[in-house]
Symmetry: C2
Subunit: 199 residues, 2 copies
């Protein structure tokens, strides 16, 4: 393990690759175990590095958790871009974006880590709220003046619910549904939450 | 605390009231802290009884957890009864049932304890799946032959999602919405998931 120490010579990853290996291992463990049961030692073992290196790169388990919970910036951009497309397609396009994010191993782990974390760590609940009140609210506001805050929250609740049912409770037939089937089932819900009359 | 021991004389609750006090304290703590952080000692302290009495009545923390995760039988009956009402009202009536369950302190704690538990305890994930594949599936099957399993799972995902957003992530404006506003927002979603064409 200590062969990963940056001072040693021989075959080793560079700092960027090592940092990425730690982040990948951390994401998987926070998603699988939640915040409480994940340890710096366990992450280091999975990444094949010395625990001191985890602290060197990320500071603490808490700081590492915050780092791995961030969605890739492309997600926020893709969400914002939806508002520029045809209004009658908005639900379908958001549903594909969400279903694709749940199929992608990296974003799936981020979403699951947020859900598992939200039950035990205030920061995880905070990033969930932030995604809704910032990214989804920006999308809803670009589409309508009628209660964009309620609309963003309703979309967020269905996104969290489908992620929870599929990847935490592992509820069939949701787990076995294809990206296309899932997106088709969710599209009209998002369409109504975003642009149709709410009540 | 040991004044609650059944051997002592003086002012004390009977066994039924003591059992109920323990179950109430357990429900609140599992909902607040999740399975891992809840302790028999903490439950006993909140119920004002000796920890030995918790073990006497429920056997173990695990058995107690299983006990408090059960939804009241009236919930299942109320859900089944929905199928007998007018078909065009089904979404609205289910939405009121769900919103009312989330407003009721006891059922709210059961639902939140299931969600928090599902991230760390296999039994909690199991009871979530069971409610969907048994109670919601029975309702969906009574209404249509078209993919009742998918319909039940989609309803379940939105129920879990709204409970998570409101009571775990504490997402506004969902937290502040009244029972009526929440039910009105969810009704068309449930209506489509249960009886309208899915795609």
């Amino acid at each position: 393990m200590s062969s990963e120490s940056p001072r040693r010579s021989g075959r080793r990853r560079g700092p960027t690759a090592t940092r990425e290996a730690i982040a990948t291992a951390a994401r998987a463990q926070f998603a699988e175990l939640g915040f409480d049961r994940t340890t710096v030692r366990g992450i280091a073992a999975a990444a094949g590095v010395d625990p001191a290196l985890v602290v060197h790169f990320f500071g603490s388990k808490d700081a590492l958790f915050r780092e791995v919970l961030a969605l890739p910036p492309e997600m926020g951009e893709a969400m914002a871009a939806l508002a520029e497309g045809p209004r009658e397609e908005i639900g379908r396009r958001l549903a594909y974006l969400v279903a694709a994010a749940l199929e992608n191993p990296v974003t799936q782990e981020i979403v699951v880590a947020r859900i598992r974390g939200a039950t035990s760590h205030p920061h995880a609940a905070e990033v969930v709220r932030e995604t809704v009140t910032r990214d989804l609210h920006r999308l809803a506001s670009a589409l309508t003046d009628d209660q964009p805050d309620v609309r963003a929250a309703l979309v967020g609740s269905q996104v969290v619910g489908i992620a929870f049912a599929r990847h935490v409770a592992r509820l069939e037939p949701l787990v076995s549904m294809s990206l296309e089937e899932l997106a088709a089932a969710l599209a009209p819900t998002f369409q109504r939450y975003l642009v149709e009359p709410l009540a």
